[in-house]
C-alpha cells in the first residue's frame, strides 16, 4: 500500500495510517502523556511541574499570504499546540529543509517573521538545523518546529463531559479559505486574511477564568476534524448550533464560491474548548477581552452519546464529519 494525499489531511484516513503504522512505537511515553494519546502535545513530568513537548512540520503554499507567512505559522503552530495542553510556550527548535536555489532574501523575511511571532509568544528559538537538498528534491522549503512548554495541570483533548458547553474563540475558516483562494488564483487579494496568531495569552486568560475540560486547535481538517476528535476521545456527543457559528461574511461568500465547507478548513489562531456550563460566560468574557478572541462564541453543548451533530437552521440535523482529504475548490 502506498501513502496518498488523503493520509496527510488528518481525519479518519490519517487515523488509519497512524493506527497501522505511525503509532507502532513501543517506546512512546516518557512517563506522562505520550504518542499513544495523539493529543496536541506530549507531557513529561519533571520535578513538580510538567514539560509539554510537541512538533509540527510546515509546508504551506504560498509561502506568503494575506495575514501571515510560513514563518509565522511555523512558530504559532507549535506554540499553539503547547497552549492547547495548557502549556506556556518556552522554547522552540527549528529544522529547515531548503531547496537549492531558494532565495536568501525570502529566507530572511521568513526568519524575521518567525522572530516577530516568537516575541509575541514570549518564546525563544533556541536550536536549529538546516538541510539543503538538490533542486527538485523538495519544493522550496519545509520548516519543522518542535516546542517545549511548562504546565502544572495539563489540559487534554479528551475531557469533554455531558453538560459542557462548547466555545470557539473566534471566526471559523479564515486561514483555510485565505490559502485556498490565494493558491488557486481566485484573485481575491487581501479580502480574506489568515487568522494565524499565537493564542497562549487568550488560553491563559480562559484558564484563569474557569475550568476548561478539553481544548484543541482546529488546524488541519478544520473545526470538523477537531470537534470530532474531541467528541470521540471523550466518548460523548457534541451538538453544534449552525446559527451560532461565527463565520466572517467574506469567508462565507468565498466558501460558497469555492464550494467548500468553512468548517473543514484550517484555522491557525483559534481554540475550540469544552468548559463547564457554570464557567462558560466568565470564560467567554475573558476570551473576548483578548485581541484574538473578539468573535468568540458559545456554539454548542455536550450530551451523552456519540458523534457530532449539526442542528441546522431549518431545524434539521446532520452529522459533522471529519473531512476526507484536503478540500478542493469545486464548481459542482
Amino acid at each position: 500500500m502506498k501513502v496518498n494525499l488523503m493520509h496527510g489531511a488528518g481525519g479518519a484516513v490519517f487515523s488509519d495510517l497512524l493506527g497501522k503504522t505511525l503509532t507502532k512505537y513501543k517506546n512512546n511515553n516518557a512517563g506522562g502523556i505520550g504518542l499513544e494519546s495523539l493529543d496536541d502535545g506530549a507531557v513529561i513530568p519533571f520535578g513538580d511541574k510538567n514539560i509539554v513537548f510537541t512538533t509540527d512540520s510546515h509546508v504551506v503554499r504560498p509561502l506568503f499570504f494575506p495575514g501571515g507567512d510560513i514563518g509565522r505559522i511555523s512558530v504559532c503552530g507549535t506554540a499553539n499546540d503547547l497552549s492547547m495542553m495548557g502549556g506556556k510556550p518556552i522554547a522552540l527548535s527549528c529544522g529547515m529543509i531548503i531547496e537549492e536555489g531558494f532565495d536568501i532574501d525570502i529566507l530572511e523575511k521568513i526568519v524575521a517573521s518567525m522572530d516577530e511571532a516568537l516575541l509575541e509568544c514570549g518564546a525563544s528559538l533556541v536550536t536549529g538545523d538546516t538541510k539543503v537538498l538538490e533542486k527538485g528534491a523538495i519544493d522550496g522549503i519545509a520548516i519543522n518546529t518542535a516546542g517545549i512548554g511548562i504546565v502544572e495541570k495539563p489540559v487534554r483533548d479528551n475531557g469533554l463531559k455531558p453538560g459542557d458547553v462548547i466555545i470557539v474563540s473566534g471566526t471559523i475558516g479564515d486561514h483555510g479559505l485565505c490559502i485556498m483562494t490565494t493558491r488557486e488564483g481566485f484573485d481575491l487579494g487581501e479580502q480574506i486574511r489568515s487568522d494565524v496568531a499565537p493564542v497562549w495569552e487568550l488560553v491563559k486568560s480562559a484558564m484563569d477564568a474557569g475550568e476548561i475540560h478539553a481544548m484543541k486547535d482546529p488546524t488541519r481538517g478544520g473545526f470538523s476534524n477537531a470537534i470530532n476528535e474531541m467528541a470521540e476521545k471523550s466518548g460523548v456527543q457534541v451538538r453544534i448550533n449552525e446559527e451560532t457559528l461565527p463565520i466572517r461574511n467574506s469567508v462565507r461568500s468565498a466558501s460558497e464560491l469555492l464550494g467548500i465547507n468553512p468548517l473543514d478548513v484550517a484555522n491557525e489562531g483559534k481554540v475550540v474548548m469544552g468548559v463547564s456550563a457554570d464557567d462558560a460566560e466568565a470564560i467567554l468574557k475573558a476570551i473576548k477581552k483578548n485581541k484574538y478572541g473578539k468573535d468568540a462564541a458559545i456554539i454548542g453543548r455536550v450530551t451523552e452519546g456519540k458523534s457530532v451533530i449539526m442542528e441546522t437552521s431549518i431545524g434539521g440535523e446532520r452529522f459533522i464529519e471529519a473531512p476526507v482529504g484536503d478540500p478542493v475548490p469545486r464548481v459542482c
Binding site: 480574506i192 461574511n249 467574506s250 461568500s253 468565498a254 464560491l257 459542482c332
Partner: protein, 74 residues
C-alpha cells in the same frame, strides 16, 4: 450541477469584465453571457455571470419565496 451564487455588479470594465460583490467579497467576473449595468444582480458560475437576477428578487429571496408560498396556501 452547478454551483452558482448571486452577486451585485459594482463596476463594468473593458473586455467583458465586471467587478461584483458576493457579500463582503469582491471579484472580477466575465460578463460575456449577459447584458448588465452597475447595480444589477447576476448569478455567477465558474467565474462567469450566467444570468441577471432582478434586484428585488435577489435582495429579497425570502419575500418572493413567501409570496409563492402564500399563493400555494390558498
Amino acid at each position: 450541477m452547478c454551483i452558482a451564487i448571486p452577486a451585485e455588479v459594482l463596476e463594468i470594465k473593458d473586455g467583458n469584465i465586471a467587478v461584483v460583490d458576493y457579500g463582503d467579497l469582491q471579484q472580477e467576473v466575465r460578463i460575456d453571457l449577459v447584458d448588465v449595468v452597475v447595480g444589477e444582480f447576476v448569478l455567477v458560475h465558474v467565474g462567469f455571470a450566467i444570468q441577471k437576477l432582478s434586484r428585488e428578487e435577489a435582495l429579497q429571496t425570502r419575500q418572493v419565496f413567501e409570496e409563492v408560498y402564500a399563493a400555494m396556501e390558498e
